[in-house]
């Protein structure tokens, strides 16, 4: 099965093309990791066209789309999720969502990524790669997990432990998506893992202009 994988949950957007089968696992054909800052919407579709060109394939050959659902900064995150949903809808192929943190690193680890506001998105994994805690958002000082840590090294000092630098990868997204790819009918709707409510407080009273 030819799968297009996308993720915009971190400042490095990922677009990849891979062959996947239940028996043989993942073969990545092309991948682009693009430092995107806040330009995910500008850069994602060119990155998708780029990996298609790299692999010498047309969009019509893609049989499923996998996307990271975050957690990640909301505006960029939505770009990847809505792109996956729209591509899959237009082509009539399944769209599968996974936790983006599942696609960072392998084995026993605690993944940390930037949640802004001096907090980190995190999740902890067992030796076989199974997620055992998270995803959640916390101040790194209050995480209270031993590591090893992988993900955004900017948090090393505040974690008091080294962080092995790692980004979301196509292979990681496909691995996390395997159960759903094996049975696309079971795929859950693409709902971002926001983990935070919108910042908005209803006004308590009308402020008079005169006093």
């Amino acid at each position: 099965m030819l799968v297009l994988a996308l993720d915009t949950a971190t400042p490095t957007l990922v677009a990849g093309l891979a062959r996947w089968s239940a028996g043989d696992g993942v073969t990545v054909l092309a991948e682009r990791a693009v430092p995107s800052g806040t330009k995910h919407a500008e850069l994602l579709t060119p990155a998708i066209e780029g990996v298609l060109a790299d692999a010498g394939l047309a969009i019509g050959a893609v049989e499923a789309v996998v996307t990271g659902l975050g957690p990640g900064p909301f505006t960029g995150l939505r770009v990847g999720v809505v792109t996956a949903a729209a591509l899959a809808d237009a082509r009539g192929i399944p769209a599968v969502g996974v936790c983006s943190l599942d696609a960072v690193g392998t084995g026993a680890r605690t993944v940390v990524t930037d949640a802004r506001r001096k907090e980190t998105y995190w999740a902890a994994y067992a030796t076989d790669g199974t997620r055992v805690e998270g995803p959640a958002v916390a101040r790194p000082e209050e995480l209270g997990l031993p590591g090893p840590f992988t993900g955004d090294p900017a948090f090393a000092e505040r974690l008091g432990a080294p962080v092995t630098p790692a980004d979301v990868t196509t292979a990681g997204l496909l691995r996390a998506a395997a159960p759903q790819l094996a049975d696309p009918g079971s795929a859950a709707p693409l709902v971002p893992l926001y983990l935070r409510r919108p910042d908005a407080v209803p006004p308590t009273s009308i402020k008079p202009v005169t006093r």
Binding site: T45, A85, A200, P202, P208
Partner: protein, 344 residues
Amino acid sequence: MNEPIVLGFETSCDETGVGIVRGHTLLADALATSMAEHERFGGVVPEIASRAHLEAMVPTVHRALADAGIAASDVDAVAVTSGPGLTGALLVGVAAAKAYALALGKPLYGVNHLAAHVAVDELQHGPLAEPSIAMLVSGGHSSLLLVPDLAQEVQSLGRTIDDAAGEAFDKVARVLGLPFPGGPPVDRAAREGDARAIAFPRGLTGPRDAAYDFSFSGLKTAVARWVEARERAGEPVPVADVAASFQEAVADVLTAKAVRACRDHGVDHLVLGGGVAANSRLRALAEERCAAAGIVLRVPSPRLCTDNGAMVAALGSRLVAAGVAPSAPDLGADSSLPIDVVSR
């Protein structure tokens, strides 16, 4: 007959709009709104609107395709509001439109929201007379435009220097204890009131003021002061008279400046657009004054005055017909896209 089918996306504020047109013919105008979720905040909360756009996107596309009786593969071009508007909200539509264009192998046009408000009238009243003067008044915008060529050249004559007209309606509604958004309830309350009961100020109408700019902040404050003075004196507030007098001040300034813009530029066609153009008094006064000045007035039905996807598809259709180049693959959103950029 062989006119192209254009799929249009609008997500600049709280409406998720997906419209489909063929030439000047409206095929579908599907809409989802998060308005109810913003009501208790007294205004649109960008993050709530953005989340709602994502949730509504694919289902709204499906409704539009079903209403039009076409398949996605029948679409010849895709258009999307690229600005101005709320960045996070715009980006949901831009990303979705780029993905549909990529998946369908069709050209993409990133368009200006304000120009799309003008273009929508072509779906109801046929090709626009060019040049036309356009006045766009909504919760986010109050602009007077000169439109020599809707596909390629739109000039700004003036705009609000503070609040948009629709914002003034929202704030006056709050002061009067009417629901959000304020436009429809103020319009309804005003029908029972006397528009000459209270002489509220007409902003920027002095001889040395900018002829085509608007100001509604002073009017809004004047209404609040008047109401608070009654409340402090323990007197009942005549809601209908306040609503009618406020609405009259808005409609008076808007129509006077629009008619003046037509006269000054020798233009005999005026198009209204935006949510405030659904206001009954504004429509009536514009008709009266345009008739007296020999100006042909064009106002879309209220449903098409407010934000929708059909208006974006309508402008996209104009761009395709005019042979304008599609947008580059790195199209993004620009929250303050200038009006002279019709497409980018």
